[in-house]
Structure formats: structure tokens, C-alpha cells
Assembly symmetry: D3
Homo-oligomer: 239 residues x 6
């Protein structure tokens, strides 16, 4: 069960409210890579998880993200405050928040799209969920970094850096949890793959032009890689 | 530009159509971790990518996923064929496909939800996109594995194993592309994190009960980890 | 900030798992009137609320609903467990949960629609939010009542009755909070209404037939009500 | 069956078109608390209602809201007219209306989100539906009030005040219909609640800080209320 | 303004309720090609239309579709009635209608997806809107035809045939309205197309296989058509 | 299977990037009438089509639209480039693209709504699908025309005119394919309509006012049309 203490995980102070920036901040409140998405993804994964140790990890971080939701929500609310005063110029920049929400934060992203569970990745398979979480944390990190690049307010920067840093902490924890599983890096689930096809790289985009040129790297050459040219493959796959 | 050859990447043959299974297959046609999602995620990432070598990788795999979309679509269509004959019993199991779609496949998941771009993860940052793709491939692999567990039809199993195998191939390629970047495993973007907070593990879910018990592992102990109990932290974060 | 104790607010025990019923239960996990919707609606209203006393109320109930989310999620998971064993017959009844989610609960309603913030009603005006919450609790109450009517399992009934009862508790609290405001029952916001139109009842659906018949009651007769027949009104509204 | 007369319920005249304000007005055309939502919510409730008198009420008001949809749509269209002339500056402020809709109104809210039936609350239980409608009218009233605060155009203000006033009329009618039911204010459905839990107020959000402080009021003290502190409750709920 | 008469446009009588069929019928109530979509598409087009004669046509048919919405809703409600009685077996087949809606019809399609304005096609250009409407009527016709093929109930068939017939009536009216415009069949808008490219057919899908074979017809040969093979075209388009 | 050549179907060059215009262009990348919608609609129709010749047509044009998606995506990306440089002023105009997408194009429309398969019209009936496609091409044509009216950049205009022209080419091809079917213009599916109702025009919107006036034209008079006034009809439809 949850208990709530009326203190933010990180105390937030800002200088001048910046409505446009407040709108951008909503991305991390109700957006695809935001704190609500993180809190829900990890908590629901945790609820479903049969591995007691990693379940604990998922619940710890899921709960922390709920506290982050409060921090980012409080920060956005401070910046959106002028929308509360019914100033026309402010309202124009975000009619949904101003007219429907009365100037408060809402469960939207930076463009007013409602939060949707389609953002979440929950597979019920621990080695898959941990990879989804590592990717989610990486996306959250870069989003915070970009947000920080759009403000000069010291208090705002402090809070966002705290939140950004925690995403790397979580990424590190999820990576450790993944590596400690008794499975190799390419083992997912139980069913073996087909050796005939697994090391073939299909070269399906060829030539050169505005969209780049054909190239090689460790992802298609060296090791046990075999490059198969697109047209040749037409003869391979059948039963 | 795209060219299309009227041959499937993998020739599909099935025994008896199995409508309920055809419906499940739609998950990989128009579902969250399906082939349309994969094709769009990688192709759009590729369009945006400034690194010419990894752009090529993204376009190669994005294009291959388009060909997979045809394979899974053709397979689902064969299994859904009885919906074309206007049989009432078949129609009951999937009215959307039967009544609206006339028995053809549609851009839905296994429960009839329309495909949405909210499934996609596109960040414009290569080390982030590659992580999103590794996770996407892991989800696709486990989904194919579970589908295979629900059918006995040899032709269907063959086609699904081919598709499942290719997901691991792609995962391997995306991992190699990530590892070959000049960045450490915890480096995302350019902005440094705050050393004060990055190695602290916040123990926000405590005690024991139906939802597990408190535990430790390499994700919160050993190395440079420091466990911070939730209440203590209330004094830490401020400015 | 949030703290999580690994105990359910209400301990759940069930007899035989009932997959079809588990699916129905998802309505209160990730559905329009479910616990996630309640938790988010009240918590975000609370975050935005400037009235410190009612803010406390909103946070108290918002937090309790989070704990309910755990209870209903745990209950649904027990009933959906057969979906984890990859039984084909179980999977047919909910392919989204079985094939994508691996048998765990997901943020969906009983038909697999993803949770969306469009379910929420957050206005930033306390006398409006409280009305939205009273209505939300009434909807949750009737939904639990209907769910209870579809199961015979004593442990399940106990848990659902507990959750159903708490909705009435919340309804009572929200009603008290509304009544204690210094505003009359028809006063919303600050702007006065137009006396010329406010007591006119427009009779826009007339006659009798399959859709009922014209009738009167305290909602259009007695007191200061004046009934205006639809055609007559065409002359009234202009400037 | 419906009949339509080519006259607005309220004649609309405006001065200078105001594109940005026209966009805000779309909130009440195709937004969450707008006229389409109201018309559909009440009409569908009416279609399902077995109580002939309240069915009549629901159809009357549902039909009136359809006429309001025309009024607000005509008003918005007048303000959006410059988008029809393909002026670049106007188009920038609403590309969806300008480029896709050719400058006409569309079924969107003020930020371009498509109208969705997820906005509606339809329970098939009259004492629940009436509460949902009272809340819906309160939300519509405050939304019109805020819109009026963002314009100085007399004709626009007149039309919006008419619409705003009618929401209070409807609220009054729905409240009278609710009160005239043979059910107490806390009676919803048929199933009794559990006396052990119904009067306990759970204090789940405690302490003081940025998010307020712990407090009491008629919603948790006096009468038959009993306050239960969050931690203590962990021992209560079980079977 | 709208006036509503409590009579259905077409009186509906059914024999035995058929819950599964009632669910299918929802497709035409709240589905992509259903009566709500038609009513909204034409009415909003009509609201925006500057051509007074075709505006009248759009409002006439838009209003008629509203009356159809009542007919199909009443018909679906009769078939869904067993869901009102809280029978478990009935509830399993549509938990959303049974548990959330209390057995009434809801604004969903046959699989429970909420109606969305994304179904609508409204362009603000009369020769475009009329084409969208002709296509919409064709889709509605085939949907009714398929529904009729899934029932044996004479009263249901009668009502559906009436509705199906009216779609062809509307199609005929929209076609006449399109043909009476002073524009050729390939003239859309005002801007001329580029003669260099307009008669070239690009053969982008070639070869033969499971997906058919290359072929010709009046859509790419004869008249002024010129077939351009996909690879050759790579040299053509540039500036 | 698909093959991709790293050359655009039409080489794109622009002068100064124009962020606001780039945002508008997204309408044709990820919007309702855009290239992704066209590519998916025709390709899935083609996958389902049993008529080998029209299947070829659908696959040809579906594939061409995929190539258009690349062209419009590349064009939008050039105009959105300033969003990559993390300029605050640019970011304000599109925070979703700037902060989440890092300045790349995303699968959104011009207002940031995620692409959804609800845009698509796929019926599994060739004479219906072709009508949906003719309408889709007409919508795409007018959208390109409006976009062209909002820019002065010669390179951009060239590329958009090419794309616009191709829509008319496709419209012409789909019309020829429809006309070559052995069905009359009002024949859809197999089931005959009811002669009693098919030629009656219901005059459901009457009178005159802000919403026009009653009128006649070839869509309701002449030929075999019979006008039925709305009230009279109440006696007609029954069984």
C-alpha cells in the first residue's frame, strides 16, 4: 500500500514563471517518456513479476518515479501559473490548460495529447521488461537534457538535473539486474532460434543518394555475420 | 525509393485455417510490438539519422520489417479466411474483421485496437534509438515465441520461427551498433549527471507482504552503490 | 513523496481462477471508472488545488486509490493466472494479455482498450472538481456492484465489497467538502448567469413513441420553471 | 426522429474575427466538456433509460445540446474565417484547421485533439447518470466562463452567456431529477456497503510541505467519521 | 436548431434477442462507418459549406443519419437486453457493455473501441467532401449487407434493409451533387497539376508470386497512359 | 518483398528552412490524408484483394506512396532542421518534435497528433475500396494545394507539385479501375436495395436562417426522385 508525505522528493524553487517552458515540461509529466509512464510501466511490471528480488527493484523504482511525477508536476505548475490569471496572451499559448484546466497541470504531453497506456511496454518476461526499462530511462535522460538546454532558470535547472541524474541511476540498476540473470545477451525467452537465418544480414536498402549509402560495420560484417543481398534472398525463404 | 516484388520474403503454407489463431497473429501485424511498428520505428529513425553508417543499418532493417509485415499479413489472412465466407460463428469471434473488413486483415492488434504511432519510440539520438530498438526486438521475439506455443500447424510454425529468428538477428545488429559507438554504457547524450545522486539507490518500497519483500542484488549493493532509505531522503533534495 | 509498503491495503484470497472474470476485473484496473483513473484524477486535482484543506482531502483519497489499484490488480492477476501457462483455450479469451503481456495484468479495460487520460475530469475549480469526483465515485460503486453480481467466489466478493464500500466513503467525503464551500448548489465559478433564460425549460423532444412520451416532473414544472415549447423558442434567442 | 430547422437556437453576430479565440472556442465544439459530448452523453443515456419521465428529460436536454453545437460551431466558424483565406500567418496558428479543414470548424478540441467517446460517462443507472450530468454541466459552465474572460467582442459574449446560462438550467433540472428519486444521497445501485469500513477516513497523505499540510473538515471529522491513520490500517483489511 | 419527435424513423420489432448480433450492430452505431460518423461528417461539412444548395443537401442527410442513429441504437439495445439482466454468460461476451454500461448501448464499435472523430473526413472543399461522402455511403452499404447476412430475424432484417437502402439513396444524391458541379471528374481545387507526370503510371510492384502478378488494365494502359518501370524513374524526378 | 534504394523518388532541395512550414508538412507525413495513410490503405487493401489485376494496381500505388513518404519526410526534415540546434524559439513552436524527437520528423500530423489506423478505410470489397481511394486522393490533392499556397520556396513548391500531381494520377487510375468493374455506379455488394425507399429524398432540414435555406437540385428533384417532407414520413417506416 502507498503512503504519501506532503513533501516533494526534491524541493523546487523557480524565478520568473515561463509559460512556454512550462508547456514543454508537461512532456515529462504526461508525455510518452515522462514520469507517469515510468511509474506505471515499472509498477505494473512489478505487480506481475514472479522473481521476488527483481520485483522489489521494479517496485522501488516505480515508487520513486511517482515521487518524480510530483516534482515535475509542481515545477510545471509554477511555470504555468500565469495561465491561472486568465491572461489572454498566456491562454493563447495553451488553451487546453488555460480554458479547460484553469491553469493547472494536466495529464497531457507538451502538445496537449492525453496520456495513453499505449506508451507502456509490459511483457511479463523479466529479461524483456528490463531491456524496455533501460531504453525508457535512456529516452527520459535525453529528454531532460534537452529541456535543460531550453531554460536559464537556476532553480529549474537544479530540479531537472536531479531528475535527469536519477534516470541514469535507474538505467544502471536495470542493467545490473539484466546482467545478473542466467541468460546470455541474445537469449530471450525459452525457444531456440533457427541457426540457418540468425547470422545472415539482409542488405535490403542499397545504393547511394539522399538517404545515405551502403556501408558495413560490426553489425553486418566480421564475426559470424554473412551479408545476403536482397535479391538473392528471394530464393531462400520457403518450406 | 521503394520497389516491391510480388514474392513473400518467406513463402507461407498452412493447413487448416484457425480463425482464433489468425486473430492472435494480428498482434504482430498491427500490434504494439508488431512488424508495422518495427518498420516505421526504424525507417523514421533512419530518415532522421545523421550517422551515415547506422542510417544504413536502420534503413536495411526497417525495409526488412516491411517485408515481414507482408509475411505475417499473408499468414494471418490465410487463418482468417473463414471470416470471408460470412459464417456467423466465425464472425462472432471477430466482428471488426468480419463485418467491417470483409474478412481481410486490418491494421489492428489481436483485440481490434487500431495501430497508433504512440507505440513508436523515436528520439533522434542514436545511442537512445538503438536501445529502444534492442528492447523492441526482445519484445517481438517473446511475442513470436508465445504465438508459436499456441499453434500446431507446421507451416505456420515454420514461418513464425523464421520471423522470430530474424528479431534476434536484428537485436544482435543493434547491439553491435550500440557497442561500436564511442560512448560508455551509461553515457546518454552530452550532459553530465550529478555525482551526488547517481549512485544512490532509493529504497522506496519496503517491508514484506503479498507484493514481495525487500531485497538486495547487484542493482543496489556492491560497487559504488549506496542504499538510501526512503524516509531519510526527505532531507536531501533541495536547493 | 510516496512510500510503498509491500502489503496490500486489503489481503486478497481467491478460490479457482476465473479467466473471464479476471478480464472483467480489468475494467476497474485500467478502465474508464477504475482505480488508476480515480488515483490520477484526485492526485492531479490535488496538485493543482490552492485550498489547503481540500487539497489534503484530494491527496488522501488519491493515495488511497493507488492502494486500491494494487488490490484490484492483484485480484485480477490471480484470476488471469491460467493465461500465464500458455493454455490455448485461455489465450483465446484474451490474446492481448496472454500473448503480449505474458499473462500479467495490463493497463487496459475489460475489452483491451488502453487507459487514456481522456477518462479524467480535472477543471482546476474546486466546486467543479468535487462534483466530477462525486460522479466518478458513483460510477465506480455501480461498476463494483455489477462485478460482484458476476462471481460466486467468496474471497473475490470480500475484496470487491471492500473496494465498493470505500467508493461510498469517498463520495460522502467529497459531498461534505462540496457542501462546506461558501457557494450555493447552483453557483459554479464567479460569473452570474442570465436571468432571462435560466429558468426556462426547453421542450425539444416531443410526442410519444418508441422513445417514450412527453412528461413533467420537478425538473421542468413547479417552482420557478417555465416550459418553452421548442418551436416558440425560435423567436427568442437573438441580439 | 430528428427535424432540423435552419435557424440557430441563438442568433450569432460578431465584430472582428479573432482566429486565436476561434481556436479556443473549439473546446466547446469538439472538446471534452463541449456540446457534442453533452449531446451524445444525454441522448445515449436517454436511449437506454427505462424510466419514461427521466428519459424524456434526457432527450430534451440532449436535443438542446445538439442545437448548442450548431451555435458554438457557427460562432467558431466566424472567428476562424481568416483561415479560409489561406493567409500564412493565420494558418500557422492552426494548421489542422487551415490545411486539412480548409478553414472550417472540425471535431477537435482547442489543441486539435479529435473528439473521442472516451469523454462520455454513460452507466445505464439513472442515479449515476444524473450525477455524471450534473458534473458535466458544472464543467461546461466554468469553461464558458473562462472563454468569456478571453474576449471583448459583445456579440460573442452574448452568445456565450446564453450557452453558459443554459448549462446552469440543465444542472438545476438534473439535480431536481436526482432528488426526486426514491433514494438517499449515498445510495447508489442496490447492493449495501460494508458498515465496518464506510465511515472510516484513511489518512493516507500526511505531514506538511510543498503539497500542503494535514487537516480536518466535515469530510473526515464530526458526524460518524472515524479517522484511521495510514500505517495502522495495514492490520485491518483481510479475510 | 433541432427538434426531436419520440418516434423512430423506422419502427423496430425483433424476435429473440441475440446478444452477439447486438454487439455486431454496434459497428453501425459507434463504428467507423456507422450512423454517428455519417451524421457528424455531413452536418459539420454542412455547417462549413458556402454553397447554399449543397449545404441544404448536407444538412438534410446529416439530420437523417441522426434519425438512423436512433433506429440502429434502438435495434442494438433490443438485442443487447440480456446484458441488462446481469447474466454471467451474456456479460462475458461484452463486459464493457454489461459491466460499465449496465446493458445499454454505448458509443463503441463492435469490438468496444470508443468512437473517434478520426473516422471523419471533412475538407472544406465541396468536390472533395462529396467524394468522401460517396465512399462513406458505399462502406455503410456493404457493412449493412454483411450484418444482414448474419441474422435470420425478420424484424431485424427489415430495419437493416431500410437503413441499407437509404445509404444508396444518399450515395445517389451525393453523386448527382458532384456531377452538377462545374468541374471535370479529375479537377480538384484550383491548382493545375504537372502535365509531365500526371499520365505516367509507375510500375512499383513487379514480378509474380503469392502477392499476384504484374498486369495491365484501363488504369495503366490505353488512352494517354504511359507506363514507367520503377528503376527507370530514378533518373526522372529532380530539380 | 520490399527493396529500398537510397534515392528519393523526387530529389528535394530547399532554400531557407521554415520551421512553421515544416510543421504543416507533417500533415502529409503522419496526418489523416498523408502519405503513410495512403501507403498503408492501398497496401493492406492489396494484400486482401482477390482480383489479381486490381491487386497489382493497389500494390503499385501503395508502394509509390511509400516512396512519397520518404520525399515528404525528407522535405519536412529540412524545414525542421533548426529544431535540431536546440534553439529555444524554434522549440517553442513544436516542443514534441524538438524535445522528444530531437528535431527529426515524427509520425504525427501538423498539430502533433500521433498517426492512427483509424484514418484508414479498408473494406475488403473492391468497388468500395476504390471509392475510398478516389476520395482519399482528392483529399490529398487539396491538402497539397493548400500547403503550396503557404510557401514561396521554389524547391519546396516543385516537390509538393510533383506529389500533388501524382495524387491526380492515382485518382485517375482508381476511377478507371472502378469503371471497368461489371457493376453500375449505384451497385455496391450483392444485396438489392428496397425499391420503396431508394428514390425518396427526405427533407429533414427545412426553413431558412443562418444555416441556409431549403433548396432543390438534381440530388432531390427530376429523374425518379420523390421528395418526402420530414413530418409526413413518420407514417411510412414500419413493419
Amino acid at each position: 500500500m502507498y503512503h504519501h508525505v506532503k513533501k516533494l522528493m526534491y524541493t523546487v524553487n523557480i524565478g520568473e514563471p515561463d509559460v512556454k517552458f512550462g508547456q514543454m515540461l508537461l512532456e515529462q509529466f504526461g508525455g510518452a517518456n515522462g514520469e507517469l509512464a515510468a511509474a506505471m510501466q515499472y509498477s505494473i511490471q512489478g505487480l506481475n513479476c514472479d522473481d521476488p528480488k527483481r520485483k522489489d527493484l521494479l517496485m522501488d523504482i516505480g515508487t520513486e518515479e511517482l515521487s518524480h511525477l510530483e516534482v515535475i508536476g509542481s515545477l510545471a505548475r509554477m511555470h504555468l501559473k500565469p495561465l491561472k490569471d486568465q491572461k489572454r496572451s498566456a491562454a493563447e499559448s495553451d488553451p487546453l490548460i488555460a480554458v479547460v484546466g484553469g491553469g493547472g497541470v494536466g495529464p497531457y504531453n507538451s502538445q496537449g495529447n492525453p496520456w495513453t497506456a499505449d506508451y507502456l511496454k509490459i511483457s511479463g518476461q523479466i529479461e524483456v521488461d528490463l531491456r524496455s526499462n533501460i531504453a525508457a530511462e535512456a529516452r527520459a535522460k535525453i529528454t531532460y537534457e534537452r529541456l535543460i538546454n531550453h531554460t536559464n532558470d537556476p532553480g529549474t535547472i537544479d530540479a531537472l538535473k536531479f531528475l535527469m541524474t536519477r534516470e541514469i541511476t535507474h538505467m544502471k540498476a536495470f542493467m545490473a539486474a539484466l546482467e545478473s540473470l542466467p541468460k546470455g545477451p541474445l537469449e530471450v525467452g525459452e525457444m531456440p532460434v533457427d541457426d540457418e537465418y540468425v547470422n545472415k544480414y539482409f542488405n535490403d536498402s542499397t545504393g547511394e543518394g539522399e538517404l545515405g549509402e551502403d556501408s558495413t560495420g560490426p553489425w553486418n560484417s566480421g564475426g559470424d555475420w554473412e551479408i545476403v543481398e536482397n535479391p538473392a534472398f528471394q530464393e531462400i525463404g520457403h518450406r
